[in-house]
Subunit: 461 residues, 2 copies
Amino acid sequence: GEPSGPCVKTTIPGPKSLQMIADLDKIQFAGSIFYFTDIKNSLGNYIVDADGNSILDLLTQISSLPLGYNHPDLLKVLQDPDNHIAFINRPALAIFPTQGWPEKLTSSLLSVAPKGHTQVTTMACGACSNENAFKSTFMWYRNKQRGGAPITDEEHSSCLVNKGPGSTPFTIMSFKGSFHGQTLACLTTTHSRSVFKLDFPALDWPIASFPRYKYPLEDHIKENEAEDRRCLAEVEEQFEIYNKAGKFVAGVVVEPIQAEGGDVHASPEFFRELQRITKKNGAALILDEVQTGGGATGKYWCHEHFNLPDPVDIVTFSKKMLTGGFYSLPEFRPQQGLKIFNTWMGDPTKVLLLEKVLQVVKRDNLLKMVELSGKKLMDGLKDLSRRFPQHMQNVRGIGTFCAFDSGSQQKRDETFFRLQQHGIQPGPCGEQTIRLRPSLVFQPKHADIFLDILEKVLKEI
Amino acid sequence: GEPSGPCVKTTIPGPKSLQMIADLDKIQFAGSIFYFTDIKNSLGNYIVDADGNSILDLLTQISSLPLGYNHPDLLKVLQDPDNHIAFINRPALAIFPTQGWPEKLTSSLLSVAPKGHTQVTTMACGACSNENAFKSTFMWYRNKQRGGAPITDEEHSSCLVNKGPGSTPFTIMSFKGSFHGQTLACLTTTHSRSVFKLDFPALDWPIASFPRYKYPLEDHIKENEAEDRRCLAEVEEQFEIYNKAGKFVAGVVVEPIQAEGGDVHASPEFFRELQRITKKNGAALILDEVQTGGGATGKYWCHEHFNLPDPVDIVTFSKKMLTGGFYSLPEFRPQQGLKIFNTWMGDPTKVLLLEKVLQVVKRDNLLKMVELSGKKLMDGLKDLSRRFPQHMQNVRGIGTFCAFDSGSQQKRDETFFRLQQHGIQPGPCGEQTIRLRPSLVFQPKHADIFLDILEKVLKEI
Ligand code: FES
């Protein structure tokens, strides 16, 4: 079974990890590695590193493990010989899908589709999910612009050499602080940290401010409402500037919570108003739920907390969903093959595993568990923040998707380092934030263990 | 065992496939599907479709199956319980790699590295492999430009809003007719067919002509040499134009054979001269071996046929390698973490399977087999082309990576359709080309079966 708590025997990373990092560094740059892992001995919420340290994992492979390590039900999927053939015969899904594929999509991805969504396209990671959401948006916008007119020869020939009218001047609006992936178009919409963007070319696409609230929220209602209005005015302004310049804004991409940029939350009202403004401008609203989706907020999709009046146009996912992809409204279907296309179009084995994950989530009521554990976490974090205001501020979260600030980058790094040495693996994000990204099997008792150690660390600093 | 030949019972696609296509079409656009497959009953070179037709597969999931269907050695990888944990615990490889990972890279990808390459980075598909090859090139070029000067605050802050100097005006040169993937930057370097590009924005990056030879080559030596010179002059010209305009050409991306654009071959001399010109201009040469790599040309990397004087700067791969990724010279290593980065950075289970594929290729001498089967194929195709010159022209190929033209798109489509109805699955490419992309277990006897049926089809037309 799972250990009853973290167990640390060496500094982290320990000598074995350091040796392995040196080995890997001969083959590729290894400077971002925290430590090597002993996956075989990892279980549930605990990751074991190469030096035998057992660490309570609140980062879970950058928020991508839905059921923790070595979940017995997932193991069963691999033990079933009928499933083995799927793993050794990867199909080109958009040309030669395997029989049973529509049923698999229905029993997995469509069974948790956001409200109003009947269409889903699989991809292999968050970046190609967003890139293809952008492409779907551009096609849709251009078709509206064409108004049924046929595609001209000039469009066909000009796009081959990257020129108009076939290549369009369309843009996607994004928000300061956002993160949408690290291919070049995704990077154009990413603004969280310069390390991701420096030295790379970027497209001239509009950018608006994302709200930055004062906490605790209940004490700053007026100011935060004004902050929403300021940002939404920028959105309107960017629409006007870019549309007037002929760089038509076909879509707006936004995270329900800016996860990489420091767990920056915005109000349901902000998102409702954003949807209204986007619609008014004839553009599509793309919700990037790559990190927020998959259950950690207590619902499958974070934006379900926002009570939006209309379904979102496109919702992208990856990470905890195991497969990348996106839901989109029917009007975003391509009118032709090969436009939303690549060799594999995802990987059916990831959907096979996802199907089992969703069964477990339902059977074990894991979204309810997220709610309970999340409440425990939030209550504990708020309490610690009141007691150690010099080390912890701006506690925020939905479900177990929680974060707090440390006051400075140096203090965050110290908190992070000390937690690690005590056998807690948190995640850093933004300038001075600690984010928590446990998997869906994180229980209230794990929250207690974490909170105890965090208190100890805060006393040490 | 494998069937002794194709066996067709229905039209292709048959009624069951048509029903499944209709089912899938309720969930997503299904217009590019050829037929649904019965993977369980597929074996070796034969794919079985949902209607029970057994088809000799010369397309192999868009050239992505190295060992055909249900290879017994790959099945063993799945049957080994020690391997199961890798499939259910996907790591974030650039932060928490699993112990043994450097050794796995060494025994798999590095064991077949192109000459001079010691560095490899895994990715998850061809598109992110190319996107990250471009990014590596931009960083390298910018660092040369900086000449050791520190990165300024202005660079950091400007890139966050997609502006210079932090965002660079750098470009990648590509060739008419090329295909490098379908994310937006990859699409900017793709020029094979308008369907891939229409309606999407593109960057202003330089494009040069790729040689278009007259066949048979031995009868057109002078003309083809002149064609090389014409294209290389365009490369020089594009360097000059873009560099002078400050849109510095940091790299040139090229396929060893333009595979999607119609199997367009260029001479070893062309590639050697291209390498010289690229180097002279301080740019990087990126060889996109996503489709040509993995053994189908009789060598692991098609560019090994070119006798280049220096190692290529970056070689990208995916498809038959099962994992995406790229080899790069040490000077292309990032100087900082998170720049060549994403959540998963590939998938160790694909490398586990690749390791076995490479063992089988070596044990069974499959590259030698490719050579033999390729010779048989080429001889047969050339013979048929002489006998049916109105239906088949410009036979070309290296190893089993073969193609021929049909004279017109309509004739190609007819040849393609009739081959399919006779139980042969070829691939279309370019305007009027049939491409052959069998896996590495394709034997001379399979070439015979294909050539017999092709002859029958050519007589029917
Ligand atoms: S871009 Fe998503 S897997 Fe390659």
